[in-house]
């Protein structure tokens, strides 16, 4: 048997979809331009040809109906996977996700499962401006009944997406545009070499899954813990490698899923290092980073040698001009500053 490797997250995600669609004929795909065109980021390219029109459905630009279609089919025997073209457009269908899908299992006393996945690209990707650059994962993490996945590399992405598809709950699966590593025919997913870092592990053909709720320690260290998600894992890795040369050992934890959350992995690391920095590309208030602070303070207070710090997007809608966009992001300068402060 030939083994392939999938070096980009786009390929890995596509392979995960393909494997699960082969494995389980109840898996169907829904989304705008996902058929022949293969989706705005080419993730579903080729799947229409392989699985046919009954399994890969191009939809109208009707996000409410798309999620409803997924929910209705999920409670009646299918396992739909939806692509919403940008996470920002999830704002158009929040009721279906939050009031309907997330609550179905409870409201109806456990009669129905809701095995559906909503995939959506997120993040800043080069002057896409205020409505195409957001990272809204914490909104969904806020809502009981939803699971939330935030992969950082091809290997994880494949294993996590397969788990998400096999999960019996609605799962929000976010993909950072800059991590796709694929050139899309339309908008281009840019991948900067310097941000690939050693974490950019390739996916394989193997039928592996990664449990939702298992963090990954991307780098071991004893001086400081950085908890980061998605592209920030890579950015922090580069920085940690630089600090390594100066003799400072930073541990990097990628939670991989926000809900469920691998508290143990996080707390163990905190107990070891006593110093914590959290880096995510979310907006700065009421976010996953704050949730992590609250958990760490609650459960590992006595181990802390310094205040837990957060770095997020600054308090503003995301501006267009590149210099401003870069400024508001968790950039290298801000991260290095925070590390140095924490190590004082």
């Amino acid at each position: 048997m030939q083994t392939n490797t999938y070096n980009t997250m786009a390929e890995a995600l596509r392979q995960a979809l393909r494997e699960e669609m082969k494995r389980d004929e109840r898996v169907i795909l829904l989304g705008e331009d996902i058929g022949k065109f293969g989706g705005a980021y080419s993730i579903t390219k080729g799947l229409l040809d392989e699985f046919g029109e009954n399994r890969v459905l191009d939809t109208p630009i009707s996000e409410i109906a798309i999620i409803g279609a997924a929910l209705g089919s999920a409670i009646s025997g299918l396992r739909p996977v939806v692509e919403i073209q940008y996470c920002d457009f999830l704002t158009c269908c929040m009721d279906q996700i939050v009031n309907q899908a997330a609550k179905t299992h409870l409201m109806f006393g456990g009669q129905m499962n809701v095995p559906m996945v909503i995939r959506a690209p997120l993040g800043v990707s080069g002057s896409r401006a205020a409505q195409h650059s957001q990272s809204l994962e914490s909104w969904f993490a806020h809502i009981p009944g939803l699971k939330v996945v935030v992969p950082s590399n091809p290997y994880d992405a494949k294993g996590l997406l397969k788990s998400a598809i096999r999960d019996n709950n609605p799962v929000m699966f976010f993909e950072h545009k800059l991590l796709y590593g694929s050139k899309a025919p339309g908008d281009v997913g840019i991948q900067k070499k310097s941000e690939q870092s050693s974490v950019m592990e390739s996916a394989t053909d193997e039928d592996y899954t990664i449990s939702l709720g298992k963090a990954s320690i991307k780098k071991e260290g004893s001086d400081l813990t950085i908890i980061a998600t998605m592209i920030m894992v890579h950015r922090c890795m580069d920085i940690a490698n630089e600090f390594e040369k100066k003799g400072i050992n930073i541990e990097i934890i990628d939670p991989r899923t926000i809900v469920p959350l691998d508290k143990n992995a996080i707390l163990n690391s905190v107990k070891k290092t006593g110093r914590v920095l959290i880096v995510t590309e979310e907006y700065p208030r009421c976010n996953f980073a704050s949730e992590l602070v609250a958990i760490i303070v609650d459960e590992a207070f006595d181990y802390l040698d310094a205040p837990v710090k957060r770095i997020n997007i600054m308090d503003t809608p995301i501006p267009f001009a590149p210099v401003c966009e870069k400024f508001v992001l968790p950039n290298k300068k801000r991260i290095v500053n925070a590390i140095e402060q924490l190590l004082q």
Binding site: I28, N54, R55, L57, T59, P60, S62, E63, I64, A65, I66, I67, G68, A69, A70, L71, G72, S73, A74, I75, S76, G77, L78, P80, D95, Q96, N99, Q100, T104, H105, L106, M107, F108, G109, G110, Q111, M112, N113, V114, P144, G145, K147, N168, N169
Partner: protein, 321 residues
């Protein structure tokens, strides 16, 4: 109804009567402080639930709204399970987790009632998609009010169902009001049904207080829908007898209007028809009614005497395994 089927007619009546009496019973339970939460009652609109569901098989699906007791009864939910749910008991169809606005019983095809106006339509589209994909011969029926037809969800759902030719029947219960708001104030057209044209569908309007008319109309289209030729939208003109919810007095309606419609009471009128046109005897109908009354009484007793969930139980439903 081409050839008259007396059993069917009696069945149509029995279902209407059951809904009416159940709603009346609930109302007095609320009045006397024996229930909690809120309820939205459907007295006056029973012909739609009865006429539509008489066309459905057990495995067919329905989705309903905040005003959903009638649809669930017509689709065949056990009154015990329904009443127990309204009392928040463990024996309720949803284990007491859902309550009046969130009834489901998948064993009889009730796939849920949702209290977000318009939100049931997209979900029904999904049921239709699932039927089409799984190639069964089910249909999925969505009940909703005329107020819901101003929601974006209505538009997206009818369009999607139409382009994919999904086996969905959209039943719009136009009771002339959305909460306090008369339909004439929020729509510039006479019939919600006219909106079907926007999706390449037929314009179908029926007297929603005439159970036979409703039955016949659905019957006329259901094979079309079942066979994958596409969805239909059927607007049923009707009126709710009570206020929007609980004790809301509905002062935004004139007494004359209410009286006018009460003359068209679907349950009373059809009882008269049964007697006059179909020669059913008062005493036979009484027996049927009495049986239903007894069933309702016993269901309420069952509900009252059922155990409630324990506090911690709620936590086990947040996520499925």
């Amino acid at each position: 109804m081409e050839t008259v089927n007396i059993e069917l007619l009696k069945q149509l009546y029995a279902v209407m009567f059951k809904i009416r009496k159940f709603e009346e019973e609930l109302y007095s339970l609320f009045l006397t402080g024996q229930m909690f939460g809120t309820i939205h009652q459907c007295d006056g609109q029973e012909a739609i639930a009865s006429g539509v569901c008489a066309n459905l098989k057990k495995e067919d699906y329905i989705i309903s709204t905040h005003r959903g007791h009638g649809h669930c009864i017509a689709k065949g939910i056990s009154l015990n399970k329904l009443a127990a749910e309204l009392f928040g008991k463990s024996t309720g169809c949803c284990k007491g987790m859902g309550g009046s606005m969130h009834i489901a019983d998948i064993s009889v095809g009730i796939m849920g009632t949702t209290a977000i106006v318009g939100a049931g339509l997209p979900i029904t589209v999904g049921l239709g998609l699932s039927i089409k994909t799984r190639k069964t011969s089910q249909v999925a029926v969505c009940f909703f009010g005329e107020g819901a037809s101003n929601e974006g969800a209505f538009h997206e759902s009818l369009n999607m169902a139409s382009i994919w030719k999904l086996p969905v029947i959209f039943i719009c219960e136009n009771n002339l009001y959305g909460f306090s708001t008369p339909v004439s104030k929020v729509m510039n057209i006479k019939d919600v049904a006219q909106r079907a044209k926007s999706y390449g569908m037929d314009e179908i309007v029926v007297d929603g207080n005439d159970v036979v008319a409703v039955y016949d109309t659905v019957k006329k289209y259901i094979d079309f829908v079942r066979s994958g030729k596409g969805p239909v939208l059927i607007e049923c003109k009707t009126y709710r007898h009570k206020g929007h919810s609980r004790f809301e007095p509905a002062n935004y309606r004139t007494i004359e209007e209410v009286e006018e419609w009460k003359k068209k009471d679907p349950v009373k009128c059809f009882k008269n028809i049964l007697k006059e046109n179909y020669h059913q005897k008062e005493e036979d109908i009484k027996v049927l009614e009495e049986n239903i009354n007894a069933e309702i009484k016993s269901a309420i007793e069952y509900a009252k005497n059922s155990p409630g969930p324990v506090a911690e139980e709620s936590l086990k439903y947040a996520y499925a395994n």
